[in-house]
Every structure is written in structure tokens, then in C-alpha cells.
Assembly symmetry: C3
Homo-oligomer: 132 residues x 3
């Protein structure tokens, strides 16, 4: 298990961690298998989406904010109920296949840590399991 540390500067932001995950895969020495990225937070998530145009990330965050407004009416009274709901919608983990010692990705795919209650210091954990 390898640790990625992320410092977020806004309340909601998607941070590209593809390079850090790729390094963890290289460090594992595994040539073929599955890489799992897990986020140990209940007000953050992780997703795979377009790595080229940053406006895609803004559209995702805007749509989530429209669906789950920060200042909506919630039972949870810590002011971050929206962040918990977004966390379950995006999910706490992603998987990517590993081939020839690298992430087997589509051309436009990147891995994004989703901060929904920042700014904070956050973590993501990476594990690679071999095929055989």
C-alpha cells in the first residue's frame, strides 16, 4: 500500500493524481494486474474522467452542486452533508488495469481526487494486485 498526499485549496475541486498513481504502479514492480486507489475520507471521493479539458471537471462539480447544494436542508448539522452525499455518488475507490507495468488507460482518461469539503490535507492509498 502506497500513500498519496493531497493538499486542497478550495471547498470543492478535482485534483489530477494520475502521475502519483502511475509512480505507485512503477514502484510496485507488478507488470500485469489491477491497481486500486482508495480514499479514506467520507467527504471526498475519486473518479476517472477526461484529463485534457479542465472544463469537464467544472461541469461535473457544477452539476453535483446543483443536485446537492451546500446550503440545502439536511439532517446532518455539521455543514457538510452535501459533501457526504457527493462522496457516495462518486465512490471511494477506482480500479485501473495494469499492463506492461503501466496503467492501461484510455487516451483521455485521468484519475481525479474529488474534494467536496476542503480546503484540507487529504490522503489516497494505492495497492496493486498481480494477475498471477
Amino acid at each position: 500500500m502506497q500513500l498519496i498526499e493531497i493538499s486542497t485549496r478550495e471547498r470543492t475541486v478535482m485534483v489530477d493524481i494520475t502521475g502519483e498513481v502511475e509512480q505507485a504502479v512503477t514502484a510496485s514492480g507488478i507488470q500485469e494486474g489491477i491497481c486500486t486507489v482508495f480514499v479514506p475520507h467520507t467527504t471526498a471521493g475519486v473518479t476517472i474522467n477526461e484529463n485534457a479539458d479542465p472544463s469537464v471537471r467544472r461541469d461535473i462539480l457544477n452539476k453535483l452542486a446543483e443536485f446537492v447544494p451546500h446550503n440545502g436542508r439536511y439532517n446532518h448539522t455539521e455543514g457538510n452533508a452535501d459533501a457526504h452525499i457527493k462522496s457516495s455518488l462518486m465512490g471511494s475507490s477506482i480500479q485501473v488495469l495494469v499492463k506492461d507495468g503501466r496503467l492501461a488507460f484510455g487516451t483521455w482518461q485521468g484519475i481525479f481526487f474529488c474534494e467536496f469539503d476542503g480546503p484540507r490535507r487529504r490522503k489516497a492509498w494505492v495497492t496493486v494486485l498481480p494477475c498471477k
Copy 2:
């Protein structure tokens, strides 16, 4: 593969199954790897979220009900189309890393079976894969 059995008493409810999953990890004897929890139902799901304040679960269920009302207009005529849609939004499986023979979790994380068409007798399956 180990079996967890869940009896739900309401139409929609999130049931904390963290303890049962932890037991399955212990029983596997695996020290480092990945634990997968899979739900073999199309009107239920599984998610990871806050284990402390139960109001977080109510907020998640309320928001899903607002988005996908039980009595909305659907093509599927069995009266549980909302449950099928919620199932795909939450997902049928979660992964948690395993370290030192235990779930490697964040402080506030728990695993929740999401019942969307209860009350019913339900199952979840747990498998642990070793790192090496």
C-alpha cells in the same frame, strides 16, 4: 467467498455491515490485500460513508428519494423502478484495502448495505484477494 445475510425492515434503509465484513477479513487470514463486498441484487447497493452520525444516512436516502421518487413515471411496471436506478447510482460493489489483517479504513468510514426495495432478506458476498 463469505456470505453476509441482512434482513431489512423498511423499504429504504442503509444497514451498517462493517463488523460482518471485518469478520470475513479476519476469517480469510489474509494480512495484506483487497476486500471486495458484492451485492447480488438489482434493487439494492453498497456504499462507504460516515459511521458516526446516522443523519448522514438519512440525508443520502432523502436526496436519492428526491431525485428518483418512488411514485414517479417509469417504464418498468413492477413499482420498484426507483430502486433499480438507485442501485446503479450507488453501485453493486465496494473495495477496501486490507493491512495487518484488518480493513484499512478512514476513522469515520463504515460499509453500508443500501436497501432500496425492502423489507426483504438480502445477501452480500465478501472476497479478500492477497497482495502477493
Copy 3:
């Protein structure tokens, strides 16, 4: 890693790929483990849901279209911002447990490739990891 090729004929459609995934599991020769299906596209996804009544798929696609309209206002200007958002909501991968050399599924579960920006030629990759 095994390749599934999918040709979609509509802009949005859910294509049942359960049979192809089952074949990949058989070809792997693995008796017990976990099967991962990964979609290397940022305007498509993969989900598990009911395999019997096709109206369930229509309800899922209709609800996603209501939430994320094709012609809504987005920052991304390629005309497929909705498809990117839906991709993150459904997810890029699914896991199914493998037992006795077959997918360990619920009776009504199928695996569906989710096209959100077709028609296109698409891919899904399948990997099976053994339990021991």
C-alpha cells in the same frame, strides 16, 4: 486482459455484455477470484442491473437524461459534457466475484456497457484475479 468490442448505434444505450464477460472468465481458467470490467472511455461507463425487463435500462437512461440534459449549459464545448458527467455517475469499472469458474451473480443481474455519446466503436477490458 481480454478485449470486448462494442458497436453502439444510438447516442445513449445500455448494451448487455454479460455473455462476453462470462466467456472471458471461462478463457482465464480461474476458478475462484474477482473479475473486473474496465471501460477506457470518458463518455461511457459500465453498470450492473436487471437483465430481464429492458424497460429498467430505459428508466435509468431517462433519469440520467433528465438530470444531465444533452442540451444543458456546460463549460465543455464539445457537445458531450452530459456524457462525461454520466460517465462519472455510473463509473468506469465493475467487479463481479468468480466462483467455480463462473460469474457469481444474482439471478437478475447483467453487466451493461453504458454508451453516452454514440454511435461509436467502443472497448471494454476484462481481467480476472485469482483468490489464491
